[in-house]
Amino acid sequence: MRDVAVIGVGCTTFGEKWGSSFRDLFVEAGALALEDAQLSGEKIDAMYVGNMSAGRFIEQEHIGALIADYAGLATHHIPSTRVEAACASGGLAFRQAVIAVASGMEDIVVAAGVEKMTDVEPGASTDMLTGAADREWEGFVGATFPGLYAMIATDYMHRYALTREQLAEVAVKNHYNGARNPIAQFQQEITIDTVLKSTMVAEPLRLFDCSPITDGAAAVIVAPLERAREFTDTPIKVLASAQASDTITLHDRRDISTLDASVVAAQRAFAMAKVKHKDIDLVEVHDCFSIAEICAIEDLGFCKKGEAGKLTADGVTALNGDIPVNTSGGLKACGHPVGATGIKQVFEVVQQLRGEAGKRQISGAEIGMTHNVGGTGATVAVHIFRRV
């Protein structure tokens, strides 16, 4: 297997982008990534695109070819493949790109992610997102996506000493980080009170425990590490790429409050990267809901089960803490254009490891990690990166 490096990254701003179409979004992100790598489009050998549900959000399928076409590459006939794993679509697209380069099949590969979510009514998007869980045996009976994570929260709070305020601290911290990220959907700081007084969505989760509906796209370019310096002075090496799956329904899991796929993917990633938890300078985790960040910190092995709430309240996961979590603002504040999220996480980690993260820079960051979850934990992708 060849070593792989990220040589270019690009991301649109995230938000309710009424003026931008699906095509506008991915073309913008792709162009930014190419510019970053000082690469012209005809050098691209292949593309992988993470997208959850263009078929339902904009009634468009066949996204791989569409993106290649609007990227101006139709006449180059490059292989372009859509990858779908609900909210983990981006993470899996990135992994496919890494595998393509590592295998020696391709050299310069784009991994992109895109979702255009605001062209449908909010009620409709809630329903579409339920498709990330089991439509027949969860969605059919009235489960919503926040409802499923709320049941994780209920189970967790029943078994461990997590307070409602500690849970709110996740959102407060992520908004603080988002306020320092120019691409974030929400760039305002909030207080615990903001969270506790927000609309109830699914008990105990309130509006400010939930990631928003977002439009956005992100793209990164990977290449063999040995060629990376042709394109950039700051290549970021992919130390590990791991993926795991679990039952599609939440109710069939071994443990409601543990995402076993996160546990396994993290173990595989740490083994592959040959690094330890204390070596990780920052981690972007999949905080689709506040409780998801609590579970992620534990499932990835940064602390024992039941301790992440206190860790968060004590500031350990803050920008100046021992394990900064979601420096981008996470899904909560940066936004969650479903298929783009996994690629945006890579975008954030690469910026941090290059020292280009501005007001949210973790000083001296060398090793970073991403954690992207599909559904309630049926798919997880974990990647580890190092500045070289």
Binding site: E138, G139, F140, G147, T154, V201, L250
Partner: protein
């Protein structure tokens, strides 16, 4: 949901018909035709669940998708059936009544409808057992 898609699951949704692996004794609801433990040596037969169980975890849904908006706030739970498998279902009780460990039994209820003139979906909800 199309008529055929709903109709073909009527035995499961109305009567909690699942399956059981005769080789290892594990029960499945919704039914599986392949035992994940015994794999090819498993022998799957139909099994009708008694419909009694215990609440494992729950939530009260305040923001629902369109089909369920008229029910809010409603109680949703994961119920562990006495035979072992777990399922997600609504519990018909007041939001302040629901508790982890609550004993519940199945009832046949209207779940949702496809608009004003579409198919009405019936299925399983649970009620507390005194």
């Amino acid at each position: 949901m199309s008529v055929a898609r709903f109709w073909r699951k009527i035995p499961q949704r109305y009567n909690m018909l699942g399956t059981k692996c005769e080789t290892c004794g594990r029960h499945f609801f919704p039914p599986r035709s392949f035992c994940p433990d015994c794999r090819r040596s498993g022998k799957i037969t139909d099994y009708k669940f008694a419909g009694t169980g215990t609440v494992v975890t729950y939530t009260v849904i305040h923001t629902a998708s369109e089909q369920f908006e008229h029910l809010t706030p409603y109680v949703l739970a994961i119920v562990q059936l006495n035979e072992g498998p777990r399922m997600t279902a609504q519990v018909v009780c007041r939001p302040d009544e629901i508790k982890i460990g609550m004993k519940v039994k199945r009832v046949f209820r209207r779940i949702a409808a496809d608009g004003e003139s579409g198919v009405i979906h019936y299925g399983t909800k649970f009620v507390p057992v005194e």
